[in-house]
């Protein structure tokens, strides 16, 4: 009956990560569908813009990055809200992890189940948009380095809007401006490759953005979550 038994925090942490990944891939599966959104939204652009290969090639890195942003936000929408609405956020608050652990686990799970697949799916869209051959490497590299920032920043927005019904769209407003630096450095790296200059400085800046997002994002998320639970 004593609560003083030692608990393995690592095991709790990974149970939560594991749960969230399973939920993301289960019924209604957030992950597969975010990738679906990514594909469909990117393929709408040629309809809108017309089929000329040079124009498409010119805008390809920008469009892929912008749509990656949008689809990551779309799937972030319910990052905390689902747990808040069904009461499991209350349970998690009483778990040995503490809110910081909870937020970290959930962001990790989101990145792994949703944003990472986006990065890996991007080359396929490059073909659709006629991306030059030498740009594929930097595209994937920039997405791999930059996407954790998307999950982390998005987590702040998701936590802030958790108590608001129809938070989804409000979140876009809060989040998208904060995504701008990631977007600029990410596209910068790909464009550098296209124009045959060195993408490394851009990637380094991108990495720095992700690190900052890591620290600021997690703490801001925790503060916002504690607020929502009151």
């Amino acid at each position: 009956m004593s609560s003083m038994q030692t608990v393995s925090h690592g095991s709790v942490f990974f149970s939560l990560v594991n749960r969230d990944i399973k939920l993301a891939w289960s019924q209604g599966g957030g992950s597969l569908l975010a990738i679906g959104f990514f594909f469909i939204a990117v393929s709408l652009f040629p309809f809108g813009i017309g089929p000329e290969p040079q124009v498409l090639a010119r805008i390809a890195p920008g469009v892929i990055w912008v749509v990656a942003l949008l689809s990551s936000v779309v799937s972030l929408d319910r990052l905390y809200q689902a747990d808040y609405e069904d009461g499991s956020l209350d349970d998690l608050a009483l778990s040995p992890l503490g809110m910081l652990g909870v937020a970290t686990a959930k962001v990790l799970a989101h990145w792994f189940s949703t944003t990472l697949p986006l990065a890996l799916a991007a080359p396929a869209l490059g073909i659709l948009l006629n991306l030059p051959d030498n740009a594929y490497g930097p595209l994937v590299a920039s997405l791999l380095i930059g996407t954790p920032a998307l999950s982390l920043i998005g987590s702040v927005g998701a936590a802030l809007t958790v108590a608001v019904r129809r938070g989804g769209v409000l979140m876009f407003l809060l989040i998208l401006p904060l995504y701008v630096p990631t977007l600029i450095f990410g596209v910068g790296a790909v464009d550098a490759a296209v124009t045959m200059t060195d993408p490394l400085p851009h990637l380094a800046l991108l990495g720095a953005t992700t690190l900052i997002a890591f620290v600021v994002g997690l703490f801001a998320s925790v503060a916002a979550l504690n607020l929502a639970m009151e």
Binding site: S2, V7, S8, S15, R19, K22, D90
Partner: protein
């Protein structure tokens, strides 16, 4: 908020919170669990002599109006998950079956929670108290939607817990069938106007 509210609970106590709708029972439970910060002075709740705010969060187990179940998972998965998230340990099938039997859910273990009736969901949520050993149980209207048989099972469960030195605090409108202190929240409602104090800011 809760002017003059104060009570002591010690090992083996059952406290039932009663009071009109809106008298603050649910809010009070959330204050106890530490979700809502309370100004120390206003509330004199203490557990085993220690002030409530000093009690570690992981002494508590709570069930509120929502049930914290994931409809995509089966009942078995939900219970396993809850146990792992709260203790870090995997629960073996025998203990799981035993826990599920408390509220007669054994036959539903491998069904998806999505299709449970409201009472079945609520019983699934109550089963958590059989899974994770913690000292202080906070229950918000635990009898809601239960049939007669399961109300008895609940009373039995609570009785066993307090017999082992646990503490149970339950907000309820129904008689719980367990004897203990009763705390009528109506008494503590701020009488008259909330004072608009110059020192308020």
């Amino acid at each position: 908020m809760f002017d003059g509210l104060g009570f002591q609970a010690k090992s083996g106590d059952f406290v039932s919170l009663t009071g009109k709708n809106g008298s603050g029972k649910s809010t009070f439970l959330r204050v106890l669990a530490g979700f809502i910060p309370a100004s120390e002075g206003a509330m004199g709740f203490s557990v085993d002599g220690e002030s409530a705010t000093g009690v570690a969060r992981d002494s508590f187990l709570m069930v509120g109006h929502m049930n914290g179940l994931k409809p995509a998972f089966s009942l078995r998965q939900n219970l396993q998950l809850f146990s792992r998230l709260m203790t870090g340990r995997h629960i073996d099938d025998d203990s799981l079956l035993e826990a599920a039997c408390t509220f007669g859910l054994a036959a539903l273990l491998d069904e998806s929670v999505q299709y449970f009736s409201s009472g079945q969901r609520h019983r699934s949520a109550l089963t958590r108290f059989c899974l994770v050993p913690r000292q202080i149980w906070l229950m918000d209207e635990p009898t809601v939607g239960l049939d007669a048989e399961n109300r008895q099972a609940l009373a039995g469960l609570i009785q066993r817990h307090i017999a082992c030195g646990g503490i149970v605090i339950a907000a309820t409108h129904d008689p719980m069938g367990v004897s203990g202190q009763t705390l009528n929240m109506d008494v503590f409602r701020p009488t008259g106007n909330p004072s608009v104090d110059e020192d308020w800011l």
